[in-house]
């Protein structure tokens, strides 16, 4: 490993501009003649839009236009799409209602846009919005799963009777029934996976510009995948053909999944920019983020696990209701199905699994992928189940897990996934050692003497990352392939630009990807630039989510590098009059092995571009492209153990220790990996203890600001003790698995297992607020 190569703790290149306030975000973009959009949003969860009167607003200072949902329909702008087709167990396709960018007739969640004001200033747009009179006829709302699936419940979409989008299943129902018939013990568990609001630090924003002369649109937007945005805006929303639309996602301040989707506001900004003949800027505020960014999770599940007399698992049966909100967001349908039920085997040998998932419409904000996306829900269910089972079977929770671990790889689960490699014993052993698991009973006794309830909780997670093999996801209903692209440009003087379809919005790609180049060529990372986030620069890419950037995007870079190196070696061999097979690359030089002959990279690059003395028939230039489609998912896994104390007087939880032993395969930059784990753990712990989106029964979001929605703060979290065990991923040349979501996937169960252990009571839902914990203790 070089000082800046693979495995080096290189300080992030991008942080200098971020911490000195020089990042360039969408709201920093200013254009000549720019106007400002402000959306008029429904205050009702369910209502008919009877009329919109903008006559007074149009007379107000600075107002350029008031545009309505009917106009966007009249202009034949497409409805929002859901990109993954799920088939119900009866063979019928999922049942979806239309989602227009602004509601022409019916609003179905609080915050849904019905019209937009375009004005010279943001404040003028807001002033005018108050003068627009929208005539609503309120309808009864179904604000949660339970209400929505009741007979006679308010119906959201005529296309989806009973508010059911799909009733899907996976696994072998008969085999599970058979397993349960042979069970010595059956453990049952009902649980809720609470709804979360993503709350990226930077709210969503868009700046749209229509160039009349070129009939060309430019959209600056807060996106994790600008090429997908361009594809969808072109192919489905009829905004403009791809070659007439440039999408730029510059510095983006966090996404966590919420910036994967193409939202109504971006569409409207583009459409409006042509309509009014002016660039249009929209910057969401925090209140809009709470109401309109796709929420995460929101499952209600019932699970049963069958054990034989030796406490080996025989089977698992799961029934989950997933809340989709009022409309099907871009990837929402896949989250509680192929990203959830496929992970229900956890780290365990479970011979038979059967999962049913019922997708439900409610009058709430649409729900879609949020850090982990389906896998946290699966991991939480399995790990709460293992803990509950251990207590019921009166065995140590760690031992019960060990007894059932998968130990031989590759391992085909009964729910599609084929785990390529792992060592689950290694990670739990490392975590148990780090937290002194054996010494816990003595610590618990001592805490009891001090009036505190101490608990310990284990969580052994596995996730499917490196999303995803295109053919496989295509066969499961995905509307896109999930490969990644890279282009390496070696400039004439030897500096390097890496164009990637991955998008960095906090992940540190500008450093990690450079380290891959540094490792291969031995050049300093200062000579390498990462170019991303602009459809005019990078031809195509699938973006960043599902912990895929390194395993898929990084591998694409490796594949392009291999082509660059092959050509460069030919040039070097020609120049050095040596055999191509004798050329090795070291410290930025091409050397003839066993001699002192060498030529530096800049000279090779210069030779490629001067083309004065290239091998016969070789094209000039040194630039290569690769598209990489993974052959399998990757399977990061690990063990988290949490030790905490509960104050019985207040129900307040305090961390004593939190240890993590993760297996991410090879680490490129351990410091960045630790940062990713810290952030993931904060979100997982946040879900367990603090965060929860709450709607009242009329569909108003009660937790619509930080006054009521508890975002994790530094003092809410322990100082994490991280470690790594390593099995190299066999599916990609870097041996990497991905680390972005692990913390969010594994942490919640560890926390709830620890609290329920402390209080000796399993009836506790997330978030385990002091009020809930106190009631769990005292009734």
């Amino acid at each position: 490993m070089g000082v800046e190569g693979i495995g080096a703790r290189v300080v992030r290149k991008e942080d200098r501009r971020f911490i000195t306030g020089q990042g360039r975000y969408v709201d920093d973009v200013k254009m000549v003649g720019m106007s400002y959009a402000h959306f008029i949003r429904s205050p009702h969860a369910h209502a008919k839009v009877k009329g919109i009167n903008s006559a007074e607003a149009m007379k107000m200072p600075g107002v350029i236009a008031v545009l309505t949902g009917q106009q966007i329909v009249d202009d034949k702008v497409g409805n929002l799409i859901c990109g993954w087709a799920i088939t119900s167990k009866d063979g019928s396709p999922m049942k979806m209602g239309a989602w227009p960018a602004m509601a022409p007739e019916t609003v179905r969640f609080v915050g849904q846009a019905v019209a937009v004001v375009i004005a010279e200033t943001k404040n003028q747009a807001k002033d005018a919005a108050e003068a627009v009179v929208v005539d609503y006829e309120e309808l009864p709302a179904a604000a949660d799963i339970k209400t929505a699936i009741k007979p006679g419940a308010p119906q959201l979409h005529p296309e989806a009777p009973g508010n059911i989008v799909y009733d899907w299943h996976l696994g072998d129902e008969a085999a599970v029934k058979d397993a349960f018939s042979k069970a010595a013990n059956v453990v049952t568990l009902e649980l809720t996976n609470n709804r979360l609001v993503p709350n990226a630090m930077e709210p969503r924003a868009a700046v749209a510009h229509y160039d009349q002369a070129e009939e060309h649109y430019t959209l600056y937007t807060t996106s994790q995948n600008p090429h997908v945005a361009r594809l969808v805006l072109s192919a489905f929303y009829n905004i403009a053909p791809e070659h007439k639309l440039r999408v730029i996602a510059p510095d983006v301040g966090g996404g966590f999944g919420s910036k994967i989707y193409i939202y109504p506001e971006e569409m409207v900004a583009l459409w409006a920019s042509k309509k009014v003949g002016r660039p249009v800027k929209w910057t969401g505020d925090r209140s809009e983020a709470f109401l309109t960014d796709a929420h995460g999770r929101d499952h209600v599940s019932k699970a049963e696990m069958a054990f034989d007399k030796d406490n080996k698992i025989l089977g698992l049966r799961v029934k989950t209701h997933a809340n989709f909100g009022a409309y099907m967001s871009l990837f929402s349908s896949a989250v509680p199905t192929y990203l959830y039920a496929t992970l229900l085997s956890g780290q365990y040998v479970i011979p038979a699994i059967y999962a049913e998932v019922i997708g439900v419409y409610t009058n709430t904000t649409p729900v879609d992928a949020y850090r982990g996306a389906g896998r946290p829900e699966a991991s939480y269910l399995i790990e709460r189940m293992m803990e509950t089972a251990a207590r019921q079977l009166k065995v140590d929770p760690a031992e019960l897990r060990k007894k059932n671990f998968i130990t031989a790889f590759p391992y085909q689960t009964p729910v599609i996934m084929a785990y390529d490699i792992g060592d689950f014993h290694a990670s739990i052993d490392a975590a148990m050692k780090a937290i002194d698991y054996a010494g816990f009973p003595a610590r618990k006794a001592k805490a009891k003497a001090d009036g505190k309830l101490r608990g310990i909780g284990v969580s052994c997670y596995i996730e499917a990352c490196g999303i995803a093999p295109s053919k496989a996801v295509g066969s499961l209903g995905a509307g896109v392939g999930l490969w990644e692209s890279a282009e390496i440009r070696v400039n004439p003087v030897g500096t390097i630009e890496v164009l990637t379809g991955s998008h960095s919005h906090g992940q540190g790609h500008e450093t990690t990807f450079c380290q891959i180049i540094a490792e291969r060529l031995g050049v300093p990372i200062s000579q390498v630039s990462i170019v991303h986030g602009d459809t005019d620069k990078v031809q195509f890419g699938m973006g960043t989510y599902g912990s895929r950037s390194l395993a898929v995007g990084g591998t694409a870079i490796v594949k392009a590098m291999e082509k660059v190196e092959a050509k460069a070696k030919k040039i070097a061999a020609h120049a050095l009059e040596a055999s191509e097979s004798d050329i090795v690359i070291e410290n930025g030089e091409f050397k003839v092995t066993g001699t002192d002959k060498s030529i530096a990279l800049p000279m090779v690059a210069l030779a490629a571009y001067t083309a004065h003395n290239l091998p016969d028939g070789m094209e000039p230039g040194l630039k290569e492209t690769a598209f990489y489609d993974p052959t399998n998912f990757t399977f990061p896994a690990g063990a988290y153990i949490c030790e905490l104390e509960v104050d019985p007087g207040t129900g307040k939880t305090s961390f004593v220790n939190f240890v993590a032993a993760d297996d991410f395969g090879r680490l490129i930059n351990p410091m960045i990996v630790e940062g990713q784990v810290h952030g993931g753990l904060a979100q997982g712990i946040g879900q367990a203890l603090l965060e929860g989106a709450v709607y009242d029964n009329t569909g108003q979001l009660v937790t619509a600001s930080f006054m009521d929605y508890t975002m994790p703060r530094a003092d809410d979290l322990p100082s994490f003790q991280l470690s790594h065990t390593t099995t190299l991923c066999p599916g990609n040349p870097l041996g990497v698995k991905g680390c972005g979501e692990a913390g969010a996937i594994g942490a919640s169960a560890a926390v709830i297992n620890a609290i329920t252990d402390a209080i000796g009571n399993n009836k506790l839902e997330m978030p385990a607020t002091p009020d809930r914990v106190w009631h769990a203790i005292h009734g």
């Binding site: 002033d127 207040t650 709450v694 009660v702 937790t703 009521d708 009631h775 005292h778």
Partner: protein, 266 residues
Amino acid sequence: MYETNYHRASSIDDAVAQFAKGTDSKFLSGGQTLLPVMKQRLAAPSDVIDVAKIKDMIGIDVSGDTVTIKAATTHYDVAQSDAVQKAIPALANLASMIGDPAVRHRGTIGGSLANNDPAADYPAAVLALGAVVKTNKRSIAAEDFFKGLFSTALEDGEIITQVSFPVPAKAGYAKFPNPASRFALTGVFVAKTKSGDVRVVATGASQSGVMRVAPIEQALKANWAASALDAVTIPASGLLADIHGSADYRANLVKVMGQRAVTAAG
């Protein structure tokens, strides 16, 4: 935010005069409540009179058995004051727990009391210690000052200039913060006056704002010890209930925080 006229007052008299000129004036001190509300367009004062820079309204004075804090003194300055820490350590401790560092460097005691948020910390200390709120017009006893949620005895255009706290024999404050807002989900201030009277006040708990807690006062009068509250039951009726805490949970917190405040008081 709607457009408004901003005035930085040079003196208390100037502030009062400017206030009178506006059609719908508001005094601005630390702005920790007013400004967020204005930004969300939930308040639209015609004129905002900034009193936070008036020299006569900033400072702390301890003389004899009285701690006087001028109204525009920040929470940070109260928390850091050696004089307050020595005379009424519970008061300095309370100030150190308000909001977060940004709030404490801007927020002021006068602003907090004039706003009288039912979950604010200062009202508990003012009522428990039997402080006197002085305005540009008069002196108001703590008992007469708080009038329920966000409501006080202040008249339109009346401005708090300082608050005088009698130094108690013992005092303690224990706060259980709302996990999201960090306001008091329930905070309890206990005080034993030099004449032996006991006053216990809870904030964040009651539907009527800051409140005296008679059962705890009686128990502590008999025996100034945390254990004296073991048998006390706080009724949940009339207490606030929301997603962060049910009424019975808050009733429990009044007792538990009361015990911890007594322990802190010594």
